[in-house]
Amino acid sequence: MSSSLNPLKVIVNGDPIATEVSSSLLLADFLRDELGLTGTHIGCGEGPCGSCTVLLDGEPVRSCLMLALQAQGCSIETIESVGTETELHPVQAALHQHHALQCGFCTPGLVMSSVALFRADPHPSRGAIGTMLQGHLCRCTGYRNIIEALESLAGIHLPSAKAEH
């Protein structure tokens, strides 16, 4: 069965890419299968879970709900561009410090949304963090540590119910 091949030019994590893709190739599959950037995860394939979230021209989008071709001419950032091998991004550091990940499946998408949130406002409100988190489902953590990590990064200080370690 032949599929329609279309030229695609995008920038991924700062690297210009010029290639040809099938018209039915999802952006998530392009990133994972064509470029080997498997940090972006596919959970539900329908939108709610948020695991596939990447930044498109700086905005969080669901890569499983976009065709690769829809990213024509755009700049994409994936989790692979966040932090380095020697230095965690502040969002990553906060999540690490607050034990805000376990299996890590939801984490890349969450990190991408958080990076965008903190870029727009280094001190987002509790409400803004809550709204962002509506778009990310986590099966492991129960969200509390994620919220504490992001609120501490935002400078929102709460008396903690747990003893300090």
Binding site: S3, S24, G47, T53, Q134, G135
Partner: protein
Amino acid sequence: MTTAANSYLYARPETLQEALALMAEAGSMVLAGGQTLIPRLASGLAAPSVLVDLAGLGGLKQIEVLDRDITIGSMVSLKQVIESTELLFHCPLLSQCAEKTATPAIRNRGTLVGNLAWADPASQLPVSAIALEAVFRVERAGGFRLVPAEQFFRGPNLTAVAAGEVVTHLHVKAFARQTGSSVSDVAQRQNSRALATAAAVITIDEAGLVAHASLAVGGCGDVPRRCSRAQDALIGSRVADAPGIAAATLRAYPPEEGRGVVDAAYAIAVLPVLLRNAVRDACSAAQSRSKE
């Protein structure tokens, strides 16, 4: 995720004329935000021969307010709706609905018109489109027609848009000074799919009585519906009495059950409460606006 069987031609026209010419071909389908269509393409539920991506049509991404007429292009995203200070002032019901729809990343791509065209009969935007007496501009190669909201929604996920046609704009009227609105819904999780929704647009007069009411409900029946009896019952009533009158009228004359609901009996029980809340908050908003 993608299936090899899903082969279609992808086109990204640069003019509306081009887009309409492509849409005139059999098996063509339009791609707007893609937040609903993409999973259907991946699963094969949607199987076009030509996919027409409207992303190149900048003219469809505008929100324009001219006198009392608001025109919203069909590629305007839900995020754009939320961020529009013009819509917040002139048609806050749309702003409120957009904030209640989906989640941030989906709102960055999903469009207002796309959500309406998905025509979920219980959902906030379709119900509000009825209450707002919104009009859809539907174009095809060689002409266009204007379809009022009450004729636009034909059934669950079914609209009046025919093959070869594309919604290009949504038209709504700017609110008068003494007009307020509210949408009230119930869902399993905040911002997940609404199970039942009520929307109210209410205008009050100088004496603080209801002068005009436009009420709609969804979640019970194949399409969102106007609550004509409740509207009539509200005219001339005091703002304090209006919520109770609306709820009692809807309870006395419940909407017909239909196919497009999660649980019709639940919706019938819940809708009077939602309508009461929507009327209460719309009246309160109208009072605040008239004092500004």
